[in-house]
Symmetry: C2
Subunit: 346 residues, 2 copies
DNA sequence: GTTATTTACGAAATCGTTTTCGGAGATTTC
DNA sequence: GAAATCTCCGAAAACGATTTCGTAAATAAC
């Protein structure tokens, strides 16, 4: 390991006091431009940069923000969160903060990950996603008074900062689109019920039905996990109904993938006989059969923005002004019933 | 923020010296079992755990290992690396180390990410993937003498620890399979040439040709990026040849996805008229049209193992004994020419 | 019963930084 | 020209842990 120089040796080399050098490096006041320049040059020359350990000890900050990947694992075998991480990192790398990530193992032990993060690692801030209607993570963080920002809103606790890609509009617009095509019985394959996005999706779904004066039929909505297999099973249940849906709105592209599989199993053509719409714009959507119509999810940008919000929060801004709801946009491919589209819809 | 207790206050409460408390907490010798138990109980009661900043300052370690995501971004909109991270984290969470991740922006600035990691953050170890035949990252880390483990081997520098999911066997076995089906002209759609996996894939490809006494035709191998679009374009070039391949081996499932698209464009049926095999077992492979035959890539396990190797290296073990080459296994679906399989192959 | 050895604990130094406070010199004000 | 105000820099005190080394008591050896 190459020999490192510390701030006192650097100061000695310069014939200055350590305090002066420190102030120069951190661009605090009380040091002339001339010496500041001199210090910076010397630091560059000797390859000096302050040891984080020393600085953190003194300033009582960890310069660290933690991101916890939600369980279960299969949910994250998904480009979504990697994009999010990329966005977070890109923004964070412009700051002194570093990003540490931990993975919650199961729903039960997930809180332990949070505890380790704040009580042992002492992170300065926390980020996470997949908010739930009733979310113990939020309660914990608010109780400990640690700054955090979530991907998704929640019904839990006091106001907190979030970026929310609004599932309500996906549910409403997707369903409305099917209704516009003449469908009367529309299936909803939702993500797990405890998730906030599931609740919002169903709200949008109901709103669209109501606007069209269509009845709500509880048989038509089934909650599944966020995977292809679970989407497959959910769709099978839907299709086995005595009066099955003629179109299916899905809470996630992976679910939609399974759903199209289930439709094909019955000998019908997904996207033609039974149209399907997903959510979150999975990169392989265009390569499915048929190409999947879906709603956008600008996760990279969401990651960037979450960092902005967290920084603002730590800067003293109030949580209420740091809440953003983004509307996803419909991405038309062909699984939603392209023959109608071809007939003049676009 | 809840009031924290530090080690001197804890010691005062116990009527012990700080040194004794410290030794008890870290289970170093020189403290009786009785007082050790007493200290541990008190620590639990007061919710004390040592401040990482203080400990790191004193011990001159960062207790941090860094993972750098390779550029370009599109390569990572891929479950592969998320699984790897999950594996790494699962193993690392059993140790005092924390995982910090950074994303290399471009190939040019990637080294800066490494430099920031070791020279500023002062991580104790580094991990990364997508090794290259000539890899400046390896040179840098070896020169600085920082412990690291890579996903993939390389031709660069002195021996270092790695886990390598052997692309040679994918190239060889995939190609041999096609040859066994009677194909004489087999296309190879490889990942970018600078990557080690590309080199190994081609080696395997050539080996299979040689074993079957088939000629090598440079026109039949084209290197593309690791994305669907690039796979699409690469396959178009292959299919536009005057004497085009009758089967295509791909260095990646995303490439294979694009290739099947390209085949369909020409009016032929991918997997039937022109069989295709990919690599890395993308979770959506089974849902492509046709379902994609591919090679396994146990990335979660690889992540776990990489942590073992890194820890062993930091523990003084020699790099040479910390190199593992894993053979991927063929996962038969139907894109490799299922009609032949149905005819008795399985 | 004396001496040698072990065992258990404590005092103090140390890691590298930031920050407070004070003061000398330069500059402005009246 | 004296007083007041700025500018710039330095000495020293934290921050919270670990580790070395010394020493008293307890045990073992003879």
């Amino acid at each position: 390991m190459k020999q490192r120089i510390n701030i006192v040796e650097l100061a000695r080399h310069l014939g200055l006091a350590v305090s002066t050098v420190s102030k120069a490096i951190n661009d605090r006041g009380d040091v002339s431009d001339a010496t500041k320049r001199r210090v910076l040059e010397a630091a560059e020359k000797f390859g000096f940069s302050p040891d984080p350990a020393g600085r953190r000890l003194r300033t009582q900050t960890s310069e660290t923000i933690g991101f916890v990947l939600s369980p279960p694992q299969t949910h994250f075998a998904h480009p979504f969160f990697l994009d999010l991480l990329m966005g977070i990192d890109q923004n964070l790398s412009q700051t002194p903060f570093q990003l540490i990530i931990v993975a919650g193992r199961t729903l039960e032990t997930e809180l332990d990950s949070f505890r380790r993060l704040v009580e042992r690692q002492r992170v300065d801030g926390v980020m996470f996603g997949r908010t739930r209607r009733d979310d113990p993570r939020i309660r914990y963080l608010q109780e400990r008074n640690v700054p955090f920002v979530a991907l998704g809103r929640s019904e839990t606790g006091k106001p907190f900062p979030f970026v929310d890609i609004d599932r309500t509009v996906a549910g409403r617009n997707g369903t409305a689109r099917f209704i516009g095509f003449g469908h009367r019985r529309i299936g909803l394959l939702s993500t797990p019920g405890y998730l906030m996005i599931s609740h919002l999706l169903q709200e949008g779904y109901r709103a669209a039905l109501k606007a069209a004066k269509l009845p709500f039929d509880a048989d038509l909505v089934v909650e599944t996990g966020t995977s292809e297999e679970e989407g497959l099973n959910g769709a099978r249940r839907l299709l086995a109904l005595s009066d099955p849906p003629t179109a299916i709105m899905c809470g996630h592209d992976l679910i939609a993938t399974g759903a199209m599989q289930a439709i094909a199993e019955t000998g019908r053509r997904p996207g033609v006989d039974i149209p399907v719409i997903g959510c979150d714009n999975h990169p392989l959507g265009p390569y499915l059969n048929p190409p999947l119509t879906t709603f956008s999810a600008p996760t990279f940008e969401a990651g960037r923005r979450m960092v902005d919000l967290l920084l603002a929060l730590m800067d003293g801004r109030s949580a209420k002004e740091l809440q953003e709801i983004w509307s996803p946009e419909l991405i038309l491919r062909s699984s939603h019933g392209s023959q109608l589209v071809a007939a003049g819809e676009i």
